[in-house]
Amino acid sequence: MDTVLIVDDSVMLINYLEDAFIKHEDRFSFITAKDGLDAIEIIRNKPISLLVTDLQMPKIDGLGLLAYTNKYYPNIPCIVMSAHGSPKIKETLQTDILQFIEKPFTADQLAEVIISALNMDLPDGSLTGISIASFLQMVEMEQKTCLCEVESPDNPKGFFYFKGGELYHAVYGSLKGEEAAMKMIHIDNPTINFRKPPGRKISRKIHKDLTGLILESMKRKDES
């Protein structure tokens, strides 16, 4: 039996899903958590087949939770319940592991997405985790101000700085600004950490919008 972890701070949504999912109890069982911290506690102690999470939550939010699962449990597929749309650029490779359902949805609509994700037969080792482009687009969607730290083997540490969901600056080794951002977008199997933004003012070095930047970096990769 598959176990699905559903994370949302809305008690009313959780109650509604609990009632409505009784009819699917022969297909999956589910556990609920009210914030990212709660969810991490559960993931560490129980095998989970699928993570369904909201993005805006107290304590550890959805982005923090996704960054954590991506780092320690990269094989758990994720469905993001989002009130602010979904990323404009979907990469074919990543669609398997990260999907979006836009709020408002009905319980039946969510059940359909859950069941189809559970039925997806993914060959071992085919998963590449959640890409940097997906994370960046979620930061933009949620209009967050944050420092996003990117680590990967054999590469220098990199940073993206967002203010109110707009990409202001990026640093990667000796590269800065747009060049740094475009290089980092391609890093495979990255580990992402969300850090509190620095207290000092960071001036804007990137003026291109995120979608344009991602598209251009993809084009460059194809050409090379």
Partner: protein
Amino acid sequence: MNKVLIADDDLQLLTILRESLARYSNKFEVVTVNDGLAAIKALQKQAFSLVVTDIQMPKVNGLVLLAYLAKNFPKIPCIIMTGHGTPFLEERLKRESLHYIEKPFKIPELAESIMSVLSQSEILGGTLNGVSVVGFLKLLEMESITCLCEIHSQDGEKGYLIFENGVLYNAFYKNLKREGAARKCFQMRNVTIKFKKTPKKNIQRRIKTRLSTLLTEAMRL
């Protein structure tokens, strides 16, 4: 068939309510809107037996909607959904014939409340005239609203209350100011309430007495 209008800016909650209340469709029908302006438009087009509303909403908030209802549809009862209840408030609102449900609630609780209000208003022949000044003021406080509240009575009296984040800062009534004016405002009966934006300039807090104390005093007089 009784029609119930539900107003809330949380679209996910509206979806949940529409789906979950469908099982009561033999008792009442549900129409949902996501701000107060849409609610007012719906009220102008169709006949409703009951309004269920959130307080914090964009465009026209729940308080303005309540004021509109009290003025234009005084016989339509109202249930307020809010996230910040206190026992004092609950009791107060009940006495003011304002019904009230605290978020998060269980769907059967809301359904019960809807059915009970609908049956009451049938028995009383729609005499539930919801809203008094006191009911409104407690809501302003609870929802930390900033506004200029203009109160008119039928016999031409006029009073003003200035709220900053739910705290009563000053009041005016004829040539009175501060606490004295506030007490007069609270005693007005058969009133129409209008909400206005507070003037931009920095408003000094002139009333130091707590709202609940002032209200209790005014009730005693």
